[in-house]
């Protein structure tokens, strides 16, 4: 990915990690979808980059923290529990993300921050488990694409 920032490379690496998990669970994988996902597209894993902050500047190096939100989305008609389906998907995705916290050398580490539960009445009960992760990485101050 020449010309891409380290954070974009991190997001691409996260999607590459998540793709086989989605496939294994019969789920679809999306990055920052701009339209609502249909029932046919569920279960689904959805990745959103949320924010990035600089936490340290040392000489020409900048340490950054990128927060991403990973949502496991499932639909189920009772007695199947949509939250259970979403939980299984998120559990597998979490294990894949944390299996190599350095993402092949791109990052200094990945930390889980929090998880929430959202359930809503729908044509099949819709459950979303959004989990947030903080990814620490370093670049040169003058170049977002140069590892620091």
């Amino acid at each position: 990915m020449p010309g891409s920032s380290i954070r974009e490379q991190i997001l691409q690496a996260l999607l590459a990690r998540l793709r086989p998990i989605a496939t294994a669970h019969g789920a679809t994988l999306h990055r920052s979808p701009t339209v609502a996902l249909t029932r046919a597209q569920c279960p689904a894993l959805v990745l959103f980059p949320e924010a990035e902050a600089i936490v340290e500047r040392a000489n020409d190096r900048v340490t950054r923290e990128l927060v991403v939100r990973l949502v496991a989305l499932a639909r189920a008609v009772p007695p199947v529990v949509a939250e259970t389906v979403a939980d299984q998907l998120l559990t597998a995705a979490h294990a894949a993300l944390l299996a190599d916290g350095n993402l092949g050398g791109l990052t200094l580490g990945i930390r889980e921050l929090e998880c929430e539960w959202e359930v809503e009445d729908a044509d099949a009960v819709a459950a979303a488990l959004p989990a947030r992760y903080r990814i620490t990485y370093r670049t040169l101050a003058r170049d977002l694409a140069a590892p620091g």
């Binding site: 979808p33 339209v35 609502a36 996902l37 249909t38 029932r39 569920c42 959805v46 949502v71 989305l73 639909r75 008609v77 009772p78 959202e118 809503e120 009445d121 729908a122 044509d123 099949a124 009960v125 819709a126 979303a128």
Partner: protein, 100 residues
């Protein structure tokens, strides 16, 4: 004839209603009658997902005892009843459905 029955008879005459078969979960025999059907899409979970809000409406005297967990069949498609509630003065009911 009650007003609600007059209205539904007119709607049926105009072709606005659909045949619906109710399959009670307790094993009672199926019952068929005409219902109004709406199925608009709406966003749920903060615009993340799209859901078809399938709703049937019918006079309260029709499908007496229909409840969540029962099944209904409309145009060959089977649905599970999620919720049944009275509308207006109680002479009409609406049931929300999940496609099975």
């Amino acid at each position: 004839m009650a007003l609600i029955d007059v209205l539904y008879a007119a709607a049926a005459h105009a072709g606005f209603l659909q045949q619906c078969t109710w399959h009670p979960a307790d094993g009672r025999p199926p019952v068929s009658d005409l219902v109004g059907l709406r199925a608009p899409d709406e966003s749920v979970l903060g615009e993340l997902a799209l859901s078809t809000q399938t709703v049937i409406s019918f006079p309260a005297r029709v499908f007496a005892g229909i409840a969540g967990g029962d099944a209904v069949e409309i145009a060959g498609v089977r649905y599970q009843v999620r919720d049944v509630r009275a509308v207006g003065d109680g002479s009409e009911r609406q049931a929300t459905l999940s496609r099975q």
